[in-house]
C-alpha cells in the first residue's frame, strides 16, 4: 500500500518536476559551430592609405555585426530560466511592461556594436512587469521559441512567452 502511494505521488509529481525550468546561459544561445569572428587585421603597408583606414574606423562605427546570427534550434520548446536586462517595448496603462527585449547587458555603451540577434530574446508577458529601473536585471522563465531565419525580412531570433518574471539578486 505505501509503495502504491509512493508510485502515485511520483506520477503526480512528475509533470511538476518536468516543468522545472533549466537555467540557461547567454553563451549557450550561440551555436558552438558558429563561425568565429575574425577581426580585420590586414597589415597596412602603404602609408598613403592611412587616411582611408582612419575614415573607416571613425565613422559609421559599430554596426550590428551579425543581424542574422545563427540560433540554437535545440532550445526550441525548452522550459528555461534566463537572467537579463529588460528593454521595454510596450507599456500598459497600469505602467506594466508587457512586451520587451531581454538582453545580456544594458546601458549607454555605444563603443561596441549592439548585441547580435542571437543574444536578444523578444519576450511577451500577459501580466507584465512593473519596471522601476532600467538597470535592474530580472530572471525570466518560460518556454523558448526559436525562429530560424527564413527571409531577408524576418530576423532569426529567440522568442519567449514569459510565465514568471522576478528580480535577479546577486547570489550571497
Amino acid at each position: 500500500m505505501p509503495r502504491a502511494l509512493l508510485a502515485l505521488l511520483l506520477i503526480v509529481a512528475l509533470p511538476l518536476w518536468a516543468a522545472e525550468p533549466r537555467d540557461l546561459a547567454w553563451s549557450e544561445m550561440i551555436p558552438p559551430d558558429a563561425p568565429p569572428e575574425v577581426p580585420n587585421m590586414t597589415p597596412l603597408h602603404d602609408l598613403s592609405k592611412m587616411g582611408d583606414a582612419l575614415a573607416a574606423e571613425s565613422a559609421p562605427a559599430a554596426k550590428q555585426d551579425l543581424p542574422n546570427a545563427p540560433v540554437v534550434k535545440a532550445l526550441d520548446g525548452q522550459q528555461i530560466r534566463l537572467p537579463g536586462y529588460i528593454v521595454p517595448l510596450e507599456v500598459s496603462e497600469e505602467g506594466r511592461t508587457t512586451d520587451f527585449l531581454l538582453v545580456p547587458y544594458f546601458g549607454a555603451c555605444i563603443h561596441v556594436p549592439p548585441p547580435p540577434s542571437n543574444q536578444i530574446v523578444h519576450v511577451k508577458s500577459e501580466v507584465g512587469v512593473k519596471l522601476d529601473e532600467l538597470y535592474q536585471p530580472y530572471w525570466v522563465e518560460g518556454p523558448m521559441q526559436v525562429k530560424p531565419s527564413t527571409s531577408e525580412l524576418a530576423d532569426a531570433g529567440y522568442q519567449m512567452e514569459a510565465q514568471k518574471i522576478y528580480v535577479y539578486e546577486l547570489p550571497e
Partner: protein
Amino acid sequence: MYLFRLAMASLANRRFTAILTAFAIALSVCLLLAVERVRTEARASFASTISGTDLIVGARSGSVNLLLYSVFRIGNATNNIRWDSFEHFASNPKVKWAIPMSLGDSHRGYRVMGTTEAYFEHYQYGRQQHLELADGRAFASDPFEVVLGAEVAEALHYKLGDKLVLAHGVAAISLVKHDDKPFTVVGILKRTGTPVDRTLHISLGGMEAIHIDWKNGVPAQGNGRISADQARNMDLTPQAITAFMLGLNSKISTFALQREINEFRGEPLLAILPGVALQELWSLMGTAEKALFVISLFVVLTGLIGMLTAILTSLNERRREMAILRSVGARPWHIATLLVLEAFALALAGVTAGLALLYIGIAAAQGYVQSAYGLYLPLGWPSEYEWTLMAGILLAALLMGSVPAWRAYRQSLADGLSIRL
C-alpha cells in the same frame, strides 16, 4: 456601543473645535489623495499614448526631448531632418511602416501636425488600438484638407465642411496667420484620451503649401504671393520634416536599426525606443513625485497632530466630566477607550470628508484639467493603494489617540473623585 455614543455626545458638546479638527484632517487627506491620483493618472495617460511604434527618429537631441515633442506635443523640436533621410529609412527592408511628422504650426493653441495617410493606418495608442474617424474621411490629395482631433472639434465647435485658418508658430494667440490659404475640415477623429485629440492633422503637402511663398521668415508681399490655387499646381514634396515613427518587421532588429540610424552619415539623427524613453522620463519625474508625496504625508501628519493637541488641551477642562463618569461606575479603561474612540471618530470624519472633497474637486476641475493639461481624471472608485493610505491614516489616528487615552487613564486613577481646583 454606549461608549461610542458617549464619545459622540462628548464631541457634539464641543462641536466647533471638533468640526475644525476634522476639517483640517479632511484637507490634508484630500491633498494626499489628489497628489496620488494625479500621479497615477499622469503615468497612465503617458503610457497609453504610444503603442506599437518601435522607433522614433528625429534630429539629434535628447531621448526624452524627442519623445515629448514628437508624441506628446510638449516643447519644441530642436531641428528638422531632411526628407531624403526619411525616404532612405522608410525603404529599409527591416521597416514595415513609417509615419513622417511635421510640426510647428498651430490653430488657436492646438498644434498642427503634417503627416501622411500612414498615420491613420499605423499609429496606435492604448492597447494597440488604431485611430478611428468619428465623422468624414482622412485627408486626400487636396493639400488644404484637415482632420481634427476630437477635442479640437468639440472645443471650437467645428463640423465637416468648415473652413479654418492655421497660424504660424505654436502660441495660443498668434499674430501671424496663414489666412490666404484656409483649410477645410474633412474628418473628425474619435476621442482617444491622448494628445491626438488636441491635434489638427494636415497632409505634408498642405504643410508645404502654407509655407511655400514665405521668404526669409516672413510671408511674401505683393506679387510674390502664391494663392491657394497656384500652390495646388506646384510640387509640394516637402524638403524637411520634424520627426518620423517606424514600425519594424521584427522587434529583434530594433537595436540594429537604431544603431544604423544613429550612425547615419547623411545627417545627424537620433533614434529612440519609446518604451525606454518613457522609462527615463518616469525615473526623472519619480524624484518630484516622491517629494510631493512626502510633503503631503507631512501635511497629513500635521493634521493629526492638530487633532492630538485639541484632545490633549481639552483633557484639563474635562476633568470634571471624567470624574462624574467615574462616579457613576466607569472604570479607568472606559475613560481610555472613550478618548481613543473620540480620536478615531474625528479621523474617520476627516478621511470621509477628505474623500468627498477630492471627488467634488475632481468633478469640478475635470473639464478644465483635461483641456488645459490634457490629463483625464476619472471619477472612479479609490484604488487599492488609496484604500491602504486611508487605512494607514486611521491607524495613525488610533495610535495618536492612545496618548491622551493613557494620560486620562493615569489621571482618572490619580484624581479619583478628589477635584483639586
